[in-house]
């Protein structure tokens, strides 16, 4: 296996990087200061079979909780995204139990009462803000729960957009709510039932089903490679600077 110059440079950088102490589940390790928590744990000899996923900050598997010396605060981050700091005192919380309600989505209509029925614990929220403080994606969890309590599913869907379902909010919740499950239901209801439908999509689908484009498609399918190449290179394209009112010369399929 050949190593490229880049690899060699990275390797030297890793070897030359200053080692700093971090505490993984209470045990001290010296790790290069340039590494992410995930890489640092692997450097220290840990092998991931859980608590690791996309390594790209979007899957929510590697949620990590840590503290710093002389600081009472609880810090969180994704292990794959957070760079180590000296004397960081960490553990991973790859899973926190949170019950998801079972429902038949097609029986729902997007009414707030449906969420109240499925997640009565929603009303146990005391707005303590522990959830928002712990979220590694900076989602305003308390705010979307507040929106759901007042029946605003659309606002909750918008606020919870960045949620990666890591479960840290549920782990800190005083009211014992499974916030991220409730938010997911809100986003599903919003997408399926509350977001306005694209009327032009409906029209297009109807046109397709009515067979409007069948002849053209069949002609294309029957054409040989040369004809296709001619049609493709000679097609009329919308200019990059065209305004809202641009229409093609050939309006057959509009």
């Amino acid at each position: 296996m050949s190593t490229t110059t880049d690899d060699k440079e990275t390797q030297s950088a890793a070897i030359e990087a200053r080692l700093i102490p971090i505490y993984i589940m209470g045990k001290k390790y010296e790790v290069p200061e340039t590494l992410t928590i995930m890489k640092a744990m692997e450097y220290a000899g840990y092998k991931y079979i859980r608590g690791c996923g996309c390594r790209g900050g979007v899957c929510g598997a590697c949620s990590t909780v840590y503290r710093k010396p002389n600081d009472y605060k609880i810090y969180t981050g994704l292990a794959c995204q957070t760079v180590v700091e000296p004397d960081m005192y960490l553990t991973q919380l790859p899973f926190y139990p949170a019950m998801r309600a079972t429902y038949n989505f097609h029986d729902l209509e997007g009414k707030p009462e449906e969420i109240f029925e499925l997640y009565q614990e929603l009303f146990r929220c005391v707005a303590c803000n522990a959830c928002s403080k712990v979220c590694p994606m900076d989602v305003e969890v308390m705010d979307y729960i507040a929106a759901l309590k007042r029946g605003d599913i659309r606002a909750a869907a918008k606020i919870s957009f960045d949620c990666i379902q890591c479960g840290l909010c549920a782990s800190r919740c005083m009211g014992e709510l499974p916030q991220y499950h409730i938010a997911q239901l809100a986003r599903r209801l919003n997408g399926a039932y509350l977001t306005p439908r694209a009327e032009h999509l409906k029209t297009m689908v109807a046109n397709i089903q009515a067979g409007r484009y069948n002849d053209a498609l069949n002609n294309l399918k029957a054409s040989n490679e040369d004809t296709l190449k001619k049609l493709y290179t000679g097609r009329e394209m919308e200019p990059a600077t065209a305004g809202e009112d641009w229409t093609p010369k050939d309006a057959t399929y509009l």
Partner: protein, 291 residues
């Protein structure tokens, strides 16, 4: 005058008729208000434990939101929200040690010292707007309508946040009189409807609510005026359960006080969303030619 407006969870859904009628009234009266752009549920009840501070956080957070908007007064419509916010406010004003602990705990929020004033629509009309200023604006008085004002608990107790004397309050009576209706005074006007016991002891809550309505009927009321969405549930929606349980229970039209104000101000009925009231409420207004 400009004030901040705090709706509370229920006003956007079940008690939409309370909100839409109230805001239409504020517009008609020329009161400038702004709904807080960011707010959370206040918790509905004030925590009565001396050592419990976490349950103060929710209402205090809302008061901080008012402070953030640069406002010094917040208007509430829901009586439970009024009581909770007002009592939390008093705690922050008067108890230095708890104020410090709560401010320290909410380290992500600016400190709150109790500078905001919490008002309910009723005392706003009485004290800030004035009944004298209101009366000339009543273009469609509710003449001949026998309305019993029902205060409930949270507007009058405890004394620290009471809008009026708990034993012989007048503010709601004055409000109904200002609308041109016939005020029906009845002893149970300040008796509890059962409130949250609709969850824990529903039969008990049903009985006390039934007794209140019966008392109003006995004193000649043909309509009940309310300020609280939970009272509206116990004494409005749950009337259907009363008919099943209590022989002789009659259907009593129930309205939010702001719906009556809206009608009296001549505001079109759709602002009051009367479809959320009992059918008897709509029928009564029809027979009185008010809709």
């Amino acid at each position: 005058m400009k004030i901040a407006y705090y709706p509370g969870c229920t006003l956007k859904t079940k008690a939409k008729n309370l909100e839409t009628s109230a805001l239409a009234c504020l517009d008609a009266l020329g009161v400038e208000y702004e709904e807080l752009p960011r707010w959370n549920c206040c918790g509905a009840v004030f925590s009565l434990a001396d050592d419990d501070l976490i349950h103060m956080v929710a209402p205090v957070r809302d008061l901080i939101r008012v402070q953030e908007r640069g406002e010094d007064t917040v208007l509430t419509l829901c009586s439970m929200c009024y009581n909770t916010l007002a009592r939390a406010n008093d705690l922050m004003k008067n108890d230095a040690e708890k104020r410090k602990t709560i401010n320290d705990f909410m380290d992500e929020e600016p400190d709150y010292e109790g500078n905001v004033k919490v008002v309910h629509f009723l005392d706003f009309i009485r004290d800030s707007y004035g009944f004298d200023k209101l009366k000339p604006k009543i273009t469609k008085p509710l003449t001949g309508m026998k309305v019993a004002p029902y205060y409930g608990c949270t507007l009058l107790r405890p004394k620290e946040v009471a809008l009026d004397r708990p034993d012989n309050p007048q503010v709601f009576h004055q409000f109904i009189a200002a609308l041109g209706a016939e005020v029906i005074d009845f002893p149970s006007a300040t008796k509890c409807c059962g409130a949250y016991q609709v969850l824990g002891a529903p039969d008990a809550a049903l009985q006390v609510s039934y007794e209140i309505i019966s008392d109003a009927v006995k004193h000649g009321a043909e309509a009940l005026a309310l300020t609280c969405p939970l009272c509206d549930y116990n004494m409005g929606k749950r009337q259907d359960q009363m008919f099943e349980k209590y022989e002789g229970a009659k259907d009593m039209p129930v309205y939010y006080f702001t719906q009556l104000l809206a009608l009296a101000l001549g505001i079109p009925a759709d602002a009051s969303h009367l479809e959320l009231n009992r059918e008897s409420a709509r029928e009564l207004l029809k027979t009185k030619s008010m809709i």
